[in-house]
């Protein structure tokens, strides 16, 4: 319990640091949301100055940071100039979609990568292992940007999108209809993300399994005449699980980055398009909000991985509780 609290405190400190860093960058930024307005002859200088005053852009940075902190504690995360509304509802709307996409992709990527990794470690010279190593090399060399574009092109050209009803815009249909609608839209971006993350997971699974299979107790278990599949999935995989669980946390960073790009390319209404639009508009608080959210995602991913490690490995449990 003490460990848990310390871990949460650490994460909070990290988030504060990230927000401070963002505001430090903000100081460097030339111009703001309203500088573009000055180009228009219909808007006078006084109006622009007035707007700046209204949004406290004329105040020094530490005051703005203090106000931002206040609004964060009110659950607003600052104010979006472009949307004329607090940032939090804007971002939370999109965050759900990003979370849905990344968690789906992560789930299926692990479902594919772990069995393949285990099998290819079990028979390193086999057909499957060779197939996996070629596939891994190929997909590692293919950037997710290209993969996303190719997938989109193929989907459009084969008419596959139309048959799935993906041509329709995202509707607010409820219940079964809504679920079907979401799923059909989810398949393509999730597929691209799975394809980009499987190779890394596969490599790590295979190497962890190889190490576990080489250890003496596996030979002992084998000498006891236990079935090979049981040795693989019951004895060896459990021993190999440790680095994989920590990978769960660290691989999340890559997945979030990839998802950002895939969302923009495929038009998935997640954080990606919102963030890009905010950058082009100089809507700084939305940018900071998005960045903070990604930090929260990553921190909670690490946190969950830590808890899982705690649950899986008795050695760590003993070490941290003492």
């Amino acid at each position: 319990m003490r460990y848990l609290l310390a871990r949460i405190g650490q994460s909070l400190l990290l988030l504060t640091g990230v927000s401070l860093l963002s505001f430090a960058f903000l100081q460097l930024a030339p111009g703001d949301f309203f500088s573009e307005m000055r180009l228009s002859p219909q808007i006078s200088d006084e109006t622009v100055q007035g707007l700046r005053k209204q949004f406290a852009l004329d105040k020094p940075l530490h005051i703005r940071y203090w106000r931002w902190l206040q609004s964060t504690f009110h659950g607003e995360l600052g104010f979006s100039f472009a949307y004329n509304s607090p940032v939090a509802p804007l971002i939370l709307d999109r965050a759900g979609n990003t979370l849905l996409l990344t968690s789906t992709a992560m789930f299926f990527a692990w479902c594919v990568a772990v069995p393949l990794g285990v099998m290819s470690a079990a028979a390193p010279a086999g057909l499957l292992a060779r197939f996996c190593s070629i596939g891994t090399a190929a997909f590692l060399a293919t950037p997710e940007l290209l993969l996303a574009l190719l997938a989109l092109m193929l989907a459009v050209r084969t008419g596959w999108t139309r048959s799935l009803g993906m041509g329709a815009a995202v509707t607010t249909a409820q219940g079964w209809q809504g679920f079907r609608n979401t799923t059909t839209h989810l398949i393509l971006p999730a597929l691209v993300l799975v394809l980009t993350s499987v190779p890394v997971l596969l490599q790590h699974t295979a190497s962890a399994m190889r190490e576990a299979l080489a250890s003496p107790y596996i030979a002992a278990v084998r000498a006891h005449g236990i079935r090979p599949t049981r040795i693989l999935f019951h004895h060896a995989l459990r021993a190999a699980l440790n680095p994989l669980v920590s990978l769960l946390g660290t691989s999340l960073a890559g997945l979030l980055s990839a998802s950002l790009l895939v969302e923009v390319v495929m038009g998935w209404p997640g954080i990606g398009p919102l963030l890009l639009e905010a950058i082009l508009n100089r809507d700084v608080y939305v940018v900071i909000g998005g960045v903070m959210l990604s930090a929260i995602f990553l921190a909670s991913g690490m946190f969950i991985a830590d808890l899982l490690l705690f649950a899986v490995d008795p050695r760590i449990r003993a070490e941290r509780l003492s």
């Binding site: 930024a29 111009g31 060399a141 940007l145 905010a278 100089r282 960045v291």
Partner: protein, 339 residues
């Protein structure tokens, strides 16, 4: 494969790509900004050996193309006149290896015909030429950004590991902050606070600065680890006992230990940074028109009709595959060698 061949093969492949890009003015038949408004989104030129009578020509040739009447972006070959492919031809002005002005090109055809190996873009510019020129931006950005982030990372990491204490604590906490964000988000965040409308040259330098700045944390942590262990080695302690200065110790005794780590990191970082440049330019946050980068050429695929009907616009993305593959082979070989 023997370890030596494992190193040589990707190096040769990368060498060819970089040489082609360096000699862009010679390899590319046209200038990257040369437009032909009569040929927007034309597919790659057909290179013929047989004319319409079925007669074989030893020297391959192309036909001039025009847009078909009443049809949008459908091109027809004018078979009346053949334009043989010329090697070492004289064409539009360019700079050989970026310095000597010349109009010599590796290959070309006489006007009014045009040869476009990879089709043309929305302004009728030759995609192959733009790809070769664009490699300059994309590959150089990767190299320079890597140099920058490794320089920063090594310096900070070495200071942190060598001196320890509060300096170490400050630098490592700062590195943790940078590592607390997914790198594309971090890249976006830093890019967000910099000006949008700037000249291509400024944009290029800015992108390198941004990518290099964002990436210092990981190498810094690695270098710190190595320095931390190297500093306690007997010969370093002995050197200190003989009154060697800190700088001498770092440069003479510790840096050789670190250099292999840096080399392996470079092979890992360069492709990642090339991709970062491509991504930024793809999204319109990088180097702008008319200067090409692989990302900005790919960026036209964001338009629906280009995505669906202009498959040749995918070429800049496809070129990334052998480059990335070579780098990943290289980093694997380096890691096996040093670790």
């Amino acid at each position: 494969m023997s370890p030596r061949r494992q190193l040589v093969l990707p190096l040769v492949c990368l060498g060819i790509v970089h040489l082609a890009v360096l000699l862009a003015g010679f390899i590319a038949p046209y200038n990257y900004a040369e437009q032909d408004r009569n040929l927007p989104f034309a597919p790659p030129s057909r290179i013929h050996f047989f004319d319409i009578q079925g007669k074989f020509h030893f020297r391959p040739f192309v036909y001039e193309r025009t847009e078909e009447e009443d049809q949008f972006r459908v091109y027809q070959e004018l078979t009346a006149r053949q334009f043989p492919l010329q090697f070492f031809s004289r064409g539009s002005d360019s700079k050989f290896a970026g310095t000597v002005a010349t109009n010599l090109h590796l290959f070309g055809v006489k006007l009014p015909a045009r040869i476009s190996l990879m089709g043309t873009d929305s302004y009728g510019r030759d995609v192959f030429s733009r790809l070769v020129y664009g490699g300059r931006i994309s590959l150089l950005a990767g190299l320079l950004a890597t140099a920058l982030s490794l320089l920063g990372g090594t310096t900070l990491g070495a200071l942190s590991g060598f001196y320890g204490g509060w300096l170490d604590a400050v630098i490592m906490r700062l590195a943790e902050l940078f590592l607390a964000l997914p790198w594309l988000y971090l890249l976006f965040a830093v890019r967000a606070f910099l000006p949008l409308h700037i000249t291509p040259a400024d944009a290029f330098l800015m992108i390198i600065a941004v990518i290099g700045f964002v990436g210092w944390a990981k190498p810094a942590r690695l270098v710190r680890g190595v320095v931390l262990s190297a500093r306690e080695r007997g010969y370093v302690v002995a050197g200190r006992g003989f009154g060697a200065s800190d700088f001498y110790l770092l440069q003479r005794h510790i840096f050789p230990q670190v250099s292999s780590v840096i080399l392996a990191q470079a092979a890992l970082l360069i492709p990642q940074y090339i991709l970062a440049e491509v991504t930024l330019s793809f999204l319109g946050l990088g180097v702008g028109e008319p200067v090409p980068s692989w990302g900005s050429i790919l960026g036209s695929l964001q338009q629906y009709h280009v995505l669906v009907s202009c498959w040749w616009m995918f070429f800049p993305g496809v070129v990334l595959i052998p480059v990335f593959f070579s780098y990943s082979q290289l980093s694997q070989a380096l890691q096996e060698r040093f670790v």
